[in-house]
Symmetry: C2
Subunit: 279 residues, 2 copies
Amino acid sequence: MINSSTRPTIGVFDSGFGGLTVLQALLTYLPGARYAFLGDTARLPYGSKSRRTIARYAIESAHFLVREQGAEFLVIACNTASALALDAIQDAVPVPVLGVIEPGAKAALEASRTGDVLVIATDATVQSHAYASACHARGLRAVEKACPLLVPLVEEGWTNHPITAEVIRIYLDELWAEATQKAMHPDALVLGCTHYPLLRPLIEAAVPPGVQVIDSAAAAAHAAVLQFNGRAAAHPASSGEQQTEIHCFATDSVEKFERLGSRFLGRPVGKVGLVDLGG
Amino acid sequence: MINSSTRPTIGVFDSGFGGLTVLQALLTYLPGARYAFLGDTARLPYGSKSRRTIARYAIESAHFLVREQGAEFLVIACNTASALALDAIQDAVPVPVLGVIEPGAKAALEASRTGDVLVIATDATVQSHAYASACHARGLRAVEKACPLLVPLVEEGWTNHPITAEVIRIYLDELWAEATQKAMHPDALVLGCTHYPLLRPLIEAAVPPGVQVIDSAAAAAHAAVLQFNGRAAAHPASSGEQQTEIHCFATDSVEKFERLGSRFLGRPVGKVGLVDLGG
C-alpha cells in the first residue's frame, strides 16, 4: 500500500469514470481525506454483462483498493456492481462496503409524498430489480427503466444536445406511461447511474413540475460520510483541516480517463495510474 | 477441438455479435463449411480501449478458435481488432488470418472514381488510422470519423428510428464538411464497423446520390472466400454440397447473444456456448 499519510483511505470504485460524480460529492461532504479511485475501464461497461462476470470484476477491483491502496472503507460508486455484486464484494474484503442503491432508495423515501417512485438505470441494474427491491422494502412502489443510450450520449459529450433531450423525452414518456398504467402517481425520479447527474438539467426539464430528481451518487456520498464519521471518531488523524489527497487509477485508457474524468469530477483528476487486474 | 467433420473450420472472431454480419456474408459466399464464431462479449466494446488491451483480448480469442475449435483459417470480423491487432494475432497463431480493413479499402478503390473516400468507424479504429493508411496505400484519399453513438443505437434496436436518422445526419454532415474543407469530392463511404450494415438503409438515405456505401463486412467475407477457396482446392472434403455447420460462442451473456445475434446473422444463431477466457 502506498498510503504515506496517517489518515485512513476511502476507496471509491466504478466500472468507468462515472463514479467520479460520487467522489465529487464525497469531496464536498468530507474534504481533507485521502481518496483512492479505481475505474475498471478495460472492462466497462458492466451494465450489459452478467452477474457472475460483474462480481468477479468488482471483487478484483475491491482487492486492489484494499490490498494495494490500503482502503479502510469502500464506496461502490457503480450502480451495476452495487445492484449485482454488493454482497459478493462485502464477503471478499475485510472493510465496510457501501453501495449506491440503498442510499438512493432512502433518498427517494425522503423525497416522495405519494410513495410512487421512478428509477432510470442501465440494463443490468434494471434487470436486477435492486432499486425496486430497496424501494419496496421501504414501502415505496417503483417502476424502473433501462436507458442504455444515455451513457454513450454523455461520453460523446452531448450533455446539452437536442438529440439527448429527445432521447430523454422518449425514455421518460415510456416510463411515465407504464407508471400511469399501474395507477401510480410518481413524484420522485432516481438517477440510478453515475453518468446521469451530468444530464440533470435536461432530465429536470423533461419531468413534470413537482417531481424531484434524486441523484443516488450524492445520496451515497452523504451516507458514506455519516458511516465514515462514525468510524473516524476513533481515528484522530482524519480531519477536514488536512489537504485532500486524490489518487486515480484505471485499468485502461488513462489518457481518456484524464481527458473525460475532469468533466465528472468537476476538477482536474491529475495523473492517472494504470493498473493491470489481469482481466 | 470439437470438429467431428472432415471439413476445415473457419473461425470468425468479433468483440461482440456485430461480426455475425461477416459470418452472414460468408454463409452466402461459402455455404457448406464449418464455422466457429466467438464473440468476446465479456470485454466488449473494444472500440474505446487501448491497443495493448485489444491485442491481448484478441489473441486470447484467436487461441480459443484455433486451439479449441481447430480453426484453420481466421477472419477477424472486428474492425477495432483488425485495425489495432492484426499483426499481433497473425504472430500468435499458425493459421492464415484475414482482417476487415484491407478488404474494405480494396472495395473502396473499386467503387471510387474520384479517389476520395469517407470512412465511419469506432473511436479506436479511427484513432488507429488503419483505414486511412490502407486507402493511402492504394492511392486513395480518405477522411475518417468516429461515430460512437451508432453501436448503442443499433443495440437499442433503433435501426429505423428518427433519432438514429438524425444522429447519422449530424455525423455525416461533420464528415462532409471536413472533406469539403480539404477540397475532396468523396463518392464512397466505407462502413468500418460490423454494426453499421444494420443501419445501411438510413445511411444510404443520408448520403448524396452517386455516393456508394461500402460494407467492409461483405468485402472481408468475399476476400476470405477467395483466399479460402485457394487453400481448399487441396482439401477435397470442403464442398458447398455439405450442410453448413455454425457453432457460436460468447464470453458472457449467451442469452443476450442468442436474442440479438439473429438480428445480425439474419437467421437463428442456435445454442451459444459460454467460454471463459479468464479475463
